[in-house]
């Protein structure tokens, strides 16, 4: 099983830095969880710019184009899942699909993704007017894409596979004004919900539905993270107009909380797989019950009953196998992430 996780967000929001820090942290393992690239060269490609960032104290060059790599997530040397990581230049969101190959691919990637990780600059959210922050984080464009490819029931499908996990990464949290950090980032969360209100409103509406499954198809959460750690970067120029604030690294970086949004995305999608399996088990049980109602039916349909019974056992075994993996991944992340809808 391969999950597809697409990372996107506006330009200058910190996608590349986040990716580099995440892969660096997860390459050696954290809380028993570890990421391995499909080949050694892929890992090197990510680690080299991270090294330049740590030693040379230089922000990685802004991304041009699109990048896709395959990784495997392990929990204590046990394979949990393969996942395809797709990273974009921020501008791919703001360009019509017929003007850029990246934009066209981003639309396709979102359609195919199991989970999306949206990267937004917490400092911009906190320090700019809400309407400016919306434009600079591209939150309206993000909602537009998700709405077109994932939220509309006729496109996404009403079944379990129709939903998507949304993890919102709030970068540059170390630089936030103190009032936004107070009460466990309460003010930041409030303003983020305002800036990303399109996505928040959609998830909120889904939650209100009374169907047994529908409200749970869009797990959504956010978390402030820091690539450099508190006090290790300072603002050199405040943002104005189109320009975002500039930062300078003043000490060696120490990433904080970068792995949780990623684990949240993976964990919840594994959980969706388990949900599908559970639905299958329920369905098989109902069919078995119907077939075994009287002796005559049991005699006439003995073979079918045996086959269904074997299938049910198989699905249940797969479910049992998946359970500890979900616990290992989502159990860690879901404790840390904050709900997008309070």
């Amino acid at each position: 099983m391969t999950l597809k996780v697409t990372l996107f967000g506006g330009t200058g929001q910190g996608k590349t830095c986040y990716t580099l820090a995440l892969l660096y942290m997860m390459a050696t393992g954290i809380e028993g969880l570890r990421i391995e690239a499909q080949d050694a060269d892929t890992a090197t490609k990510y680690l080299n710019p991270w090294r330049d960032f740590v030693i040379g104290r230089k922000w990685p060059a802004p991304t041009m184009g699109r990048r896709e790599d395959v990784f495997t997530l392990y929990y204590e040397d046990q394979v949990i899942t393969e996942f395809r990581w797709v990273d974009y230049q921020g501008g791919a969101i703001n360009v019509p699909a017929d003007e850029s190959d990246e934009a066209a691919q981003l639309h396709a990637d979102i359609q195919e993704s199991n989970a999306v990780i949206i990267v937004a600059d917490a400092y911009t959210i906190a320090t700019r007017a809400a309407i400016e922050a919306e434009m600079l984080t591209s939150s309206t464009y993000i909602y537009n894409l998700l709405n077109n490819y994932k939220f509309k029931p006729n496109l996404a499908g009403e079944g379990i596979g129709g939903g998507i996990t949304i993890a919102l990464v709030l970068t540059k949290a170390d630089a936030l004004p103190e009032e936004y950090k107070a009460d466990n980032y309460d003010k930041l969360f409030q303003k983020t919900r305002q800036v990303f209100r399109g996505v928040v409103d959609f998830v909120e509406k889904e939650r209100r539905k009374t169907s047994s499954l529908r409200p749970w198809l869009y797990p959504s959460a956010m978390l402030p993270v820091s690539i450099v750690g508190d006090g290790r970067a300072q603002v050199t120029a405040e943002g104005e107009g189109y320009a975002l604030a500039s930062f300078e690294l003043v000490a060696a970086p120490e990433p904080v909380d970068v792995h949780y949004p990623f684990l949240y995305a993976i964990g919840n999608e594994l959980d969706r797989t388990a949900l599908t399996l559970e639905e299958r088990v329920d369905d098989l049980e109902k069919r078995l019950e119907k077939m075994s109602r009287n002796v005559l039916k049991r005699i006439l349909r003995g073979r079918s009953i045996r086959e269904l019974h074997a299938e049910r056992q198989q699905v249940a075994a797969r479910l049992r196998e998946l359970e500890p993996q979900i616990q290992a991944v989502a159990g860690v992340a879901n404790k840390k992430m904050r709900p997008l809808v309070p």
Partner: protein
């Protein structure tokens, strides 16, 4: 020679985009170049005076591009520029002869950014084709033995040079060499990831100037193993105002020479290789063949159905029960 311009960079308002592109350049081609050059992490090392240089065919064009740090910043990060010129594949042989001269005069010949004015106000546009005066150049290479060697082993080996003025002289010396049967393609001031990304898109280079390479030599195309060494020319100290590779490209001191004979542009088949066959000889798809076959088969009229005869049906049933056949 008809050329078109290419300029790929970003402004504060607009993320990386092809502000100017040749009319026949697809979004996919832009993406190939962007994604490949995205593998350059340390763009600050590439300056306007001594940029990375690329010459390669892609889609309908052959490109000559330079890649350097614009010194502009976005959110504190270096913004790179990829710019240059492209010619339709029909002009490829002309272009190959002009490349050494264009490299030596890259400051003017490949400068597209200056022509667009304020980038913040500039909307992406298609380049008009314009005439570029044709020049060839002779490059003064101290020892030409490596050229004899390269002509003989080009199919098996690549020429590897350092990203220095000396390396550039070796590369342009090879590009100016007329014994090669087809144009040489090159990447100068690059790394393995860029080369691999271009290779994924089907672009292969004959001469590579690695940023980290210290010496020059030949390397097997197949295994990457070193198969020969070349002495790198020492550039005169007075021409190097700053330590290499920040030196200016004019250190090459090429001598412009006229083209020996005008070469008419060649009609090439459309992209994809062989020319189209006449419509009557075109291979059919499976569905087309099936349709054609069905259309050729004579349609037999259906026999009229007999009226229902209850006695006949009863007889058939009896025959079935007793097992007798007609």
């Amino acid at each position: 020679m008809q050329v078109e311009a290419f300029l790929f960079t970003r402004s504060q308002r607009r993320d990386f985009t092809a502000f100017v592109r040749p009319a026949g350049m697809s979004n996919r081609d832009v993406s190939v170049i962007a994604s490949a050059l995205n593998n350059v992490n340390d763009v600050e090392r590439l300056t306007r005076a001594f940029p990375a240089l690329y010459g390669f065919p892609l889609g309908e064009y052959v490109y000559l591009l330079r890649h350097y740090d614009s010194r502009r910043r976005h959110a504190g990060r270096a913004i790179s520029v990829v710019e240059g010129i492209a010619v339709r594949a029909t002009w490829a042989r002309h272009f190959a002869l002009a490349v050494p001269y264009l490299i030596a005069h890259q400051a003017e010949a490949l400068d597209i950014a200056s022509s667009v004015g304020d980038l913040e106000l500039f909307a992406p546009t298609l380049s008009a084709a314009y005439e570029l005066p044709e020049h060839a150049a002779e490059i003064a290479v101290p020892d030409t033995a490596y050229l004899d060697d390269f002509v003989a082993r080009r199919l098996e080996d690549r020429l590897i040079v350092p990203f220095t003025s000396g390396g550039l002289i070796l590369m342009t010396g090879a590009l100016a060499e007329r014994r090669f049967l087809s144009p040489l393609y090159f990447a100068f001031g690059t790394n393995r990831d860029v080369i691999a990304a271009f290779a994924d898109a089907g672009v292969s280079f004959d001469v590579i100037g690695f940023v980290n390479a210290e010496g020059a030599g030949f390397r097997s195309r197949e295994t990457g193993e070193k198969t020969g060494e070349i002495a790198v020319p020492v550039v005169e100290p007075e021409s190097e105002s700053a330590p290499q590779p920040a030196a200016d490209l004019t250190a090459m001191r090429p001598r412009a020479v006229p083209l020996r004979a005008p070469i008419p542009p060649r009609d090439l088949p459309p992209a994809g290789g062989a020319a189209d066959v006449p419509e009557s000889e075109r291979l059919l798809t499976m569905r087309e063949a099936r349709r054609q076959m069905r259309a050729l088969q004579p349609v037999e009229p259906e026999p009229p159905r007999p009226a229902f005869d209850p006695f006949a049906a009863l007889r058939r049933l009896l025959r079935l029960i007793v097992g007798r056949r007609e």
